[in-house]
């Protein structure tokens, strides 16, 4: 028991060493932990009536009492950003998870079965790649009505094809390997091959691609809100949408801050995915080392 535990601890330490080599990734990790905590505990950090308008304080620039200023209804932007983080993160993780599950299953099915099944699934993926995504999501959300769940499903259901392509090609490569052949000869069931071998062997790349698609999900959700088609009560994109009507008055903080929040969050997720890629892909690490060797050689 203890030895098993220490193995995990060792693995974790090893992973972190690889991951934190990318300093941006390490910093982004802590930033996201902080952001997630703020999103979770927002109810305790801010007054309950943060959404109540206060006309006497509308459109105040950043000051000591309102570090991020107030919006067009006089609401404190710090609270709005914190609650907006909740919306953004829920959709990011939920839609990201959904697209990862659909994409992985589709890719595994296509890669394992091949033939007609593969053709069917991949053509289906092609269809989704062909219809322009944002307008499609716009139409779906405007049909089903704006809600957290609908936005999440609209994004998740339309963004899986790239994931499916990645998993399929990895699966195809694995299928040619000897250990799969042996399993097949020994009469292993399809379920065993898929879930005991094909899936675990590409979990790393699935992980990396999921984390890579999360910034895209965040930007898509923000775009939806920005276009005003899914006005969720508190969200960064919708803050930007409403603030632009006052843009000409020079109330830059009302638009700048929510947009900056979207940007920084997407960037942090992007850095995390870079760090994951470097930590989980030993080939890449080796290449980096060999390049260091090359450069050292050149200096001589």
């Amino acid at each position: 028991m203890t030895s098993e535990l220490s193995i995990y601890r060792l693995r974790l330490a090893n992973f972190w060493r690889g991951y934190s080599r990318n300093r941006g990734a390490a910093f982004s990790f802590f930033f996201l932990i902080a952001l997630i905590s703020i999103a979770i505990f927002a109810d305790y950090l801010f007054p309950r009536n943060f959404e109540a308008p206060d006309i006497s304080r509308e459109m105040l620039p950043p000051s000591l009492s309102n570090p991020l200023g107030t919006d067009y209804l006089g609401r404190d932007q710090v609270a709005l950003i914190a609650f907006g983080a909740r919306t953004s993160l829920i959709i990011a993780f939920a839609a990201g998870g959904l697209l990862a599950v659909i994409g992985t299953l589709a890719g595994l099915l296509a890669g394992y079965h091949g033939g007609r099944m593969e053709g069917l699934i991949m053509r289906f993926a092609d269809i989704f790649l062909t219809i322009p995504t944002l307008p499609l999501i716009l139409v779906i959300v405007s049909l089903t009505g704006p809600s957290l769940l609908n936005v999440m499903f609209a994004i998740g259901l339309t963004s899986w094809p790239v994931m499916a392509r990645v998993v399929r090609s990895d699966t195809l490569a694995l299928m040619k390997r000897e250990f799969i052949e042996i399993e097949k000869v020994m009469g292993a069931s399809a379920r065993r091959i898929v879930f005991r071998h094909l899936l675990p062997n590409q979990l790393n790349s699935i992980f990396v691609y999921t984390s890579l698609s999360i910034p895209v999900v965040i930007l898509t959700e923000a775009a939806l809100e920005f276009l005003g088609l899914a006005p969720l009560s508190v969200s960064w994109g919708f803050m930007l949408n409403t603030s632009l009507s006052y843009w000409i008055l020079g109330t830059w903080w009302m638009s700048f801050i929510p947009g900056f929040a979207i940007f920084i969050t997407a960037l942090a997720f992007y850095f995390v995915s870079e760090g994951l890629k470097e930590a989980l892909n030993p080939k890449l690490k080796r290449r980096r080392e060999s390049l260091v060797v090359q450069l050292a050689d050149r200096k001589k």
């Binding site: 322009p132 499609l136 139409v139 920005f226 276009l227 930007l240 979207i262 960037l267």
Partner: protein, 319 residues
């Protein structure tokens, strides 16, 4: 199999894809509530008048007949009447195409040129100082919402410094065609679009070049003593840029997404803002036609890139 047969087969698949996508679009739109009645919002409308409206848009016919008419119309260009403009959807869309091209063509050219240059400079010293700087630059804009970048540019250059116009394609005061006026209006939206697209494209070029530089034939070229310059420009660059050709095909689809957001921020009167307006107005004939056009654009550009790729890469045997 020869090249022609390959092209033929690919074209056939593409045509089938067009029909399937078209059908899917039709189904989605007809599941949607609303229609011309909701656009001509008048609660006191008489049943007779309503029937007349439905009839003039061909909505009194059974759904399967509407579908056949739709398919037929897609081929002939008779895309029905816009509920909002009460003009043929074809004319509405055609009138917006020049504005979008004016925005997209310069931005796409700049993206390709700058993206390739950035990729080349990056891989000359991989993980070196310049590479890390350029990669960070790319990450930076890759994560940036294009509508926010647009807002920042507008605030700085149109509101604070007042050196560039705050959106639109021409000045309201312009009485005749003025190239400089168009250029002034183009600078900010083209900058915003290009920065976002370059971020994406330069990373692709970089990773594709890096992969090629890792190949054995590059080692061979170096081993036989070719100068690094020749190794790079004659052997690596040619092959490394090949995969980016495919990416350009996929870029066409993302153009519409970029266009919707960019055109909305900069009040640019192109296809993107038309798409957005038509979806919110539930002007289905126009939305359907727009979806159809962009689906076809994506399919055709994918087809072309596949064929070009096949011609450029002699290892691909068409079977």
């Amino acid at each position: 199999m020869g090249l022609l047969a390959y092209i033929g087969r690919r074209a056939l698949i593409a045509a089938a894809l067009v029909v399937v996508v078209g059908t899917l679009n039709f189904a989605i739109m007809h599941l949607a509530p609303g229609g011309p009645e909701t656009v001509f919002l008048n609660p006191r409308i008489t049943p007779a008048a309503k029937a007349l409206i439905l009839k003039s848009f061909g909505l009194d016919k059974p759904i399967q007949e509407q579908y056949l008419l739709y398919l037929q119309g897609m081929v002939t260009g008779n895309w029905g009447l816009s509920y909002f403009y009460t003009q043929p959807a074809f004319d509405v869309i055609a009138s917006r195409i020049p504005a979008t091209l004016l925005l997209m063509v310069p931005s796409l050219i700049l993206t390709v040129v700058i993206g390739i240059l950035m990729g080349i400079v990056s891989v000359r010293r991989p993980y070196g100082l310049l590479d890390r700087f350029l990669s960070s630059f790319a990450f930076f804009f890759y994560s940036m919402p294009v509508f926010w970048l647009g807002f920042v540019l507008l605030t700085v250059f149109a509101l604070f410094f007042r050196v560039l116009p705050p959106g639109g394609m021409v000045s309201i005061t312009a009485t005749r065609f003025d190239v400089l006026d168009y250029l002034e209006h183009l600078i900010l939206p083209v900058t915003a679009l290009t920065l976002i697209n370059v971020a994406n494209f330069s990373l692709l070029v970089r990773s594709s070049l890096l992969e090629v530089l890792d190949q054995n034939y590059i080692l061979t070229a170096r081993g036989k003593g070719l100068p690094e310059r020749l190794v790079f420009y004659r052997h690596a660059l040619r092959n490394g840029l090949l995969p980016t050709v495919t990416m350009l095909g996929l870029f066409v689809g993302s153009i519409l997404t970029g266009a919707i957001l960019t055109e909305t921020v900069f009040s640019w009167p192109g296809l993107g803002s038309l798409t957005y307006d038509s979806i919110t107005r539930r002007d289905y004939p126009v939305v359907l036609a727009l979806f159809f056009i962009f689906s076809i654009l994506t399919i055709v550009s994918n087809l072309i890139t596949d064929i070009v790729y096949g011609i450029l890469d002699p290892r691909i045997t068409f079977d």
